[in-house]
Amino acid sequence: MCDDTEESSRYDSARLSQARKDARDLKPADPSAAHVKIESLPDGAGHRLRLGGRWTNTGLHAVLHDLEEIGRDRAADDLEIDLSDIAAMDVAGAWMIRRLARTVEANGHAAHLSGGEGRFQELIAVLPDKVEKAEEPSETRSLFTRLFEPVGKLAYSFWGDFLSAMHILGSAVRGAQMKLGRASGVSPASVVNQIDHMGVKATPIILLMSFLIGAIIAQQGAFQLRYFGAEVFVVDLVGILQLREIGVLLTAIMIAGRSGSAITAEIGSMKMREEVDALLVMGLNPVGVLIFPRLVALTIALPLLTILANFASLFGAAMVAWGYSGITFAVFLQRMHEAIDLSTIVSGMIKAPFMALIIGVVAAVEGLKVGGSAESLGLHVTASVVKSIFVVILVDGLFAMFYAAIDF
C-alpha cells in the first residue's frame, strides 16, 4: 500500500484540485468542525467523551488525531460516549464512533452511547462491526521467475498475435464466401465506403507530405552532389529512392496512423458494446463482415495512394531541382527516363498491398483484443499504430534484402 501523503499529493496535483484544496483549507477555521472533550467520571468509573460539532466527512479531520490517541490511551477504561452536542452526523462520523466503541469493547470494557438525537444512535447501530477486506493472495515468487516472467509473457503474446493475425486473414477470405442466399460475399457498398474513408479522404495529406519529402530529399541531394559537380544525378537519387522505398514506406506509415487507428477504434468499441457478439449470434462471421471490407479497401487504396505520393514527390523534387540547381523540367524528365526503368517502379509498388494487409490485420487483431474499459481501448489503438508501423518498416527491410538477393 502506498503511504497516505504520497497518495494524496498525487491526487492534489490534478488541475482542479487547487480550488478544492482552498475550500478544504477553510474548514479548520470553521467552529462547527467536530471536536471531542474527555473528562474522568467520579469513582474511577472510567471516562466520558463529550462529542460535539459536525461529525461529517468534511468536519471529521479535526478529531482524527484525538480519536486515535483516545483509542490508544483510554481503551483500557469503561467509556461513556456522550453525543448530546453533535450537530450533524453522517456515515463517516458514525463509523469513527463505532470504531472507537469497538476498540474499547475489544479490550473487554464497556462503551456506552448516550444523548443526542435518536437518529444518531440508530445510524451508529446500523453500521457493521467491521469491514472485511478481501484477502489479497500474497505472492511469493523467486527472483528468477519475476525476472523472466515478462519476457515469457511477451513471447506468448507475440505468438498469440501471430495466430490471431493468421486467423483473421484466413477467416476474412472464408467469411466473405459464407453468406447464404447471396451471390457475392462482399458487399461492394461497404468496400467503396471504406475506400472513400481510407483512400480518397487521405489524398490531400498524402499529396502534401510526399511533395515536401520529395522536395527535401532533392534539396539535400543537390547540396551534397554539388561538391562532385554531379547535380543532375539528384534526379536518379530522388527517383530511385522515392519509387523503390520512400513512397510506399511513408504512405504506409501515414495510413497506419490514419486508418489503422480508426479500424482499431471502430472494431474495439464495437467489441466493447457487444456488437461483435451480436454479429456472432446472428450467424455472421464478424471478421468477414467487419474486417474483410476494410482489408479489401486498404489493399486497393494504399497502392493508389502510393502512386499519387510518387507523383507528388517527384513534382516536389523537380521544383526544387529547378529552383536550386537550375535543372529544367525537360532535363529532369530526360534524366529520369534514363535512370528509372520498370523494375524500379514495380519493386516499390509490389510492396504496397503487403503493407496494406499488415496494417489492416494488425489493426483488426488489436481491435478484437479490446476489453471492457475505455483505458484498454486507448491502449490497443496505440499498440495498433506502433505495431503496424514497426512491422511495415521491418517488412520493407526484408523486401530490400530479398530484392538484393535476387538482383531485382
Partner: protein, 278 residues
Amino acid sequence: MDDNTASQETAERETILSVRDLTVGFGPKVVLDNLNLDIYRGEILGFVGASGTGKSVLMRTVLRLLPRRSGTIHILGEDYDSLGEEERMKLDMRLGVLFQHGALFSALTVRENIQLPMREYLDLPKWLMDELALLKIEMVGLAADAADKYPSELSGGMIKRAALARALALDPDLVFLDEPTSGLDPIGAAEFDELIARLRDTLGLTVYMVTHDLDSLFSVCDRIAVLGQKRVLVEGTIEDMLEFDDPWVQSYFRGKRARSIVPQDRSKTSQALRHGLK
C-alpha cells in the same frame, strides 16, 4: 381530514429542490414548458412519464448538464447561478447521482470509483477512506471482493449497486437515481427498493427517482410526479394518481401490468401504504 393534515405537513417540510417556470428546448422544439416541481427533505419522489417526455432532460437540467431557456432552480435552498466557485463545489458535494447505466469509470476499480470524490473533496487519511469505501460497498449489498474488481467484471445489478455506492460516497443530502431498477430481476429490484428506503431512513436522504418500475412506485415512493405535456401533469400519492383523470395516467396506473399490484379496494391500500411508510 387525514389528507388535510398530510398536506399541512408537506407545507411545513423543508424544500430540498424547487424548480420554478423551467423551460428547456432544443432548436425549435420545446421539451419542458414552464415546469414547476418541489421535493421535500426526507422523501422519495418517483418520477414517471412516457418515453421521450423529457424525464432525463429535466434531471440533466437540474444537474446543470443541459442549458435552460428560462426558470429558476433552487437546490438545497441555493440558486446555483448566484453562487461563487467555492459554494458551487460545496453544493456539488451534497448531490449524488446514479446514472442509468452506472457511468462507473471503467479504468478504476469499484473501490477507486467510490474513493474518487472522497479523494478530491475530503481531508481524510487513506486508511479511513479505504474503510469508508468498504463500508459503502457493504451498505449497498455488494460482496467485499467486488471492491477490487473493474466495472467490466461486474454484472448489471452489481454495476447499479456500485454506482449507488459512488453516489453515496460523500453522504449527499439529495440523490438522483435514473431508472435504478431497470435491468434488475424482480428480487434484485425489490432489494434495491428496500435498500433505498433503508438509506433514506438511516441517512436522512432525499431521493429523486426516475423510474418505470411500478413496484418501486408503489412500495417505496412517498410521492409520485407524472411528466406529460411538457410539464408536471400531477404530483401526489398513489391515491391521487389513481383518481387523476388523464388517459395516460389512467392507463399507466390501471393498465394490465399495474392490476396485479393495485388492489381493488384502493382507499384501504393507500392507508395501509401510508402507515407502512411511516
